[in-house]
């Protein structure tokens, strides 16, 4: 248990120190949100209508940014070999790394989303809904993403390939995230149903992701 906490603390330290990219994803997210009004025009009504979509797509993309370094950095300095050979099950190690990644990337993105949503003229209840659905959905995005990170760890240029591999798998999370968000804004449609499915997708990814990622890491290092 203490090994898990040590690993978690190590991941957090690496992310916030120089060379880590803890808040880079939030900056990228801000840039994506800034680009949208340039692309569709400064019409506040339109922006507030497509606001949830902009925020969700922005988070989905920003969450991918640092994923390719998640295992690659460990592979380069040899610590990944130690993790594979350690008595700790590799699945648990991968889970802890993914949780740390979520704390340093997914969580700040979900917290920043309502702030950026205000710039898009979204109503107050929509801001809360976006924050809530992102908190529920970003673990799913992260745990699907680590599969891609593990698959491409042995490749020199895995970054773009990683995005191509995992984005199709993230479609369900995006669909139900947006459905739950818009359900919270429009009172007529049920909110709980898509929200529960979103939670189920995240929980499912938390089970499947570490198993698949650990398998891919073992095969990749042989």
């Amino acid at each position: 248990m203490s090994a898990l906490f040590t690993l978690f603390a190590r991941e957090l330290t690496l992310a916030v120190r120089i060379g880590g990219g803890a808040l880079m994803a939030v900056v990228f997210f801000l840039i994506v949100v800034t680009l949208m009004p340039f692309a569709v025009g400064p019409d506040l009504n339109l922006l507030s209508r497509i606001g949830p979509a902009i925020l969700w797509v922005g988070v989905l993309l920003a969450n991918l940014l640092a994923l390719d370094r998640l295992f690659q950095a460990d592979q380069e300095d040899g610590s990944l070999d130690l993790m594979v050979m350690a008595p700790l099950p590799l699945e648990l190690t991968v889970t802890v790394k993914a949780l740390a990644y979520w704390v340093t990337t997914g969580l700040p993105l979900a917290i920043a989303a309502p702030l950026f949503g205000m710039m898009l003229n979204m109503p107050a209840e929509a801001l809360g809904a976006v924050c809530l659905t992102l908190l529920a959905g970003t673990p799913g995005l992260t745990f699907i993403g680590i599969i891609g990170a593990a698959l491409t760890v042995a490749l020199r240029r895995g970054g773009l390939l990683l995005a191509i591999l995992v984005i199709p798998l993230m479609v369900p999370v995006l669909i139900f995230g947006i459905l739950a968000t818009s359900a919270a804004i429009v009172v007529t449609s049920p909110f709980l149903q898509p929200f529960l499915i979103l939670l189920a997708l995240s929980l499912g990814a938390m089970v499947l992701g570490p198993i698949a990622a650990a398998a891919a890491l073992r095969f990749g290092l042989e």
Binding site: L151, R157, P168, V171, G204, L208, A215, A216, F219
Partner: protein
């Protein structure tokens, strides 16, 4: 001879060489018969006119798009569980073929959609989930191509193929939830098919012919892949021989 005997690559090459001509012939026969039935025997639809005939290509292609992925997923289990090289060869050979059938299904669907829906592309549930399937095929192929050593990439790609196989039903379900405009499944359903026999029979003959075509191409592609790996192994052996002895056929020393 049991199925396991086929797992020996040498025996596989011998058997597949004997089967292939028959498979090609049968596929051609069924496809010619199917095309004749669909273009001359099947009636026009009272609403859709002649455009209904696109279905005779579109529907088999869409079925084979899914069969191709199932083939990859089953082969991937073979790769991961038994570590058999032929399983990887099978998965690798099936990917471009499945992608091609998926592409055919998308293009013919688009051609049908223009007169029917008034647009080349409609973001309806089935089109979109087939598009996602196509993207996943491309991802698999891209990952295979990224490994310079096929043996090393085999099991990694198998993991991705299985993750995709688990996710495909979820994607299909969520996309259907997201939007439904496409007509529901009408051939395989409880209570028998809802389409008229004069259209159903050409469709089934076409589907069977297209499946045979898929299997023939798949077998031929597997043979190519086995040969390609043998060539690669020979090249590596030859290169190693040059590196150790220093010369080969009077070439100047490399090392």
């Amino acid at each position: 001879m049991g199925l396991m005997d086929l797992a020996n690559p040498t025996r596989f090459m011998a058997v597949s060489q004997r089967i292939l001509p028959w498979l090609w012939g049968l596929a051609a026969a069924f496809l010619i018969a199917g095309l004749y039935m669909s273009f001359f025997l099947a009636p026009q639809d009272y609403q859709q006119g002649n455009t209904v005939r696109i279905m005779f290509i579109h529907v088999p292609a869409a079925w084979l798009a899914m069969m191709g992925y199932s083939m990859i997923a089953l082969s991937s289990i073979g790769t991961l569980v038994w570590r058999h090289p032929l399983a990887d060869v099978s998965a690798r050979a099936a990917a471009p073929i499945g992608a091609a059938f998926t592409f055919i299904a998308l293009v013919t669907g688009s051609l049908w959609g223009k007169p029917m829906w008034g647009a080349w592309w409609v973001w309806d549930a089935r089109l979109t989930s087939v598009l996602v399937l196509f993207l996943m095929y491309l991802g698999l192929i891209a990952l295979w191509r990224a490994f310079d050593d096929p043996a090393r990439g085999a099991r990694i790609v198998a993991v991705l193929a299985l993750v995709g196989a688990v996710n495909l039903p979820i994607i299909k379900f969520s996309v259907e939830w997201w939007n439904t405009l496409h007509q529901p499944a009408s051939v395989f359903r409880m209570g028998g098919p809802t389409i008229h026999p004069t259209i159903l029979w050409p469709l089934l003959v076409m589907a069977f012919g297209a499946t045979l075509l898929f299997l023939a191409i798949h077998l031929a592609a597997m043979r190519n892949e086995v040969l390609r790996r043998r060539v690669r192994a020979m090249q590596i052996t030859a290169a190693r021989a040059v590196a150790t002895t220093g010369t080969e056929d009077g070439e100047p020393e490399l090392a």
